[in-house]
Amino acid sequence: MATTEEIRSDLADIVNEVAGVEPNEVQLDKSFVDDLDVDSLSMVEVVVAAEEKFGVTIPDDQVKNLTTVGDAVSYIERAQA
């Protein structure tokens, strides 16, 4: 099992690739929209890349609940369990 920090780090790389945010900015308490300036289309790209990276499924109706990086990491941890 990947640790929380490993998932955060891999997710940070995805956010960097898609939206150009520095990976060390992508911390658990940060909001994708308000803090990291990830718009809705970029968020779809992040989600699809995360599904591929972590081998999970994140349905569209769940994406709106992923407000912070921590929300996304928790969802991925639960989905992997």
Binding site: V18, L41, V44, E45, E51
Partner: protein
Amino acid sequence: MSQTRVVVTGLGVTSPVGGDVPSTWEALLAGRSGVRPLTQDWAETLPVKIAGTALVDPTVVLERVKARRLDRTSQLALVAAMEAWADSGLDAAQASGDLDGDRVGVAMASGIGGVTTLLDNYDTLREKGPRRVSPLAVPMLMPNAPAANVSLYVGARAAVNTPVSACASGNEGIALAVDQIRLGRADVVVAGGTEAAIHPLPMAAFANMMALSKNAGDPTTVSRPWDTARDGFVLGEGAGVLVLESEEHARARGATIYAEVLGAGITADSHDIAQPDPEGRGGSRAIRRALAEADLDPARVKHVNAHATSTPLGDIAEGLMLHATLGAAVDDVVVTSTKSMTGHLLGGAGALESVATVLALRHRRVPPTINLDDQDPQVDLDIATTVRDLPDGDIAALNNSFGFGGANVAVAFGSWS
């Protein structure tokens, strides 16, 4: 009828021979070809393995995250527009709040649109399923994406237009921009064209319709307008942008004026979906309309940047057009085809060549047509094979573009002093 004078105050280009205006102009005067072998794996199976790839990769110029959200047509358009906008000095006016975006328009043409984004996403759909299709695919592939991205960059709110008329698109963008300014709908229009279609599908399609040269010799010699050995065009990619402005607006801000757009003529052949009218009647009417709109005596025309793509029929037809429209004055006209060096940029062609025409008027120098070893005896024109000087004084030049579908657009430019 007295009408608003429209002037050129900014130029931008990214092309197979250079990544900006100075390097492109230097290469054109040096007669340097931008046609090179394709290095992509897919080229191996194609009947044509050469193209005029943009010399400077736009993804190197643009910010990485910005570039990945844009189709290559938009990347190239934006690179050229950024140069033209800075060249005009309007970037500073925009930054200081001294430019009214409601009076700024964009007319940025494309012949095909974001075809590589469309096809790459179709590959993804088939290989990985619908979930992996990019959420950005639509805003990337839509034909008006280059115009839209330029309008976002320059803050244009008067209009954002995308003329689509195949290989005449770029000139149609310029013609539309002139109309917008003359009709009082805008004071400034960022106009031009872009294309990025170097992909196996469009290349196979153009080759199969016998439009592309299949000459397998030295790539730099394949685009040879008016030469007896010509056998089709070479595909190129890139973008050209002109900042057009009402004379009043340009003077009020003390802008450098490169040239004037005297007028434009747009006509249709209604002859064949792909072949030009063999007598060039539609093209002749476009040139006549441009001369009439410009109130231009043919004797003042000293230079033509021809459409001349290196196809057997089209190159001859254009010679006939120039004789039919300019009469005896054609003997004093220095003609060139910069496509001999850049290949054919399709929707970007008219824009790139309009930039070259403006530079020729400004510097009084005409770039050569390369590879003209044996001029077709059916073409009775004074074609530059070395750099040629243009006379001093008040002179004019034409830029012609003709497109599949029977579109003909001639633009008349005048020197400015």
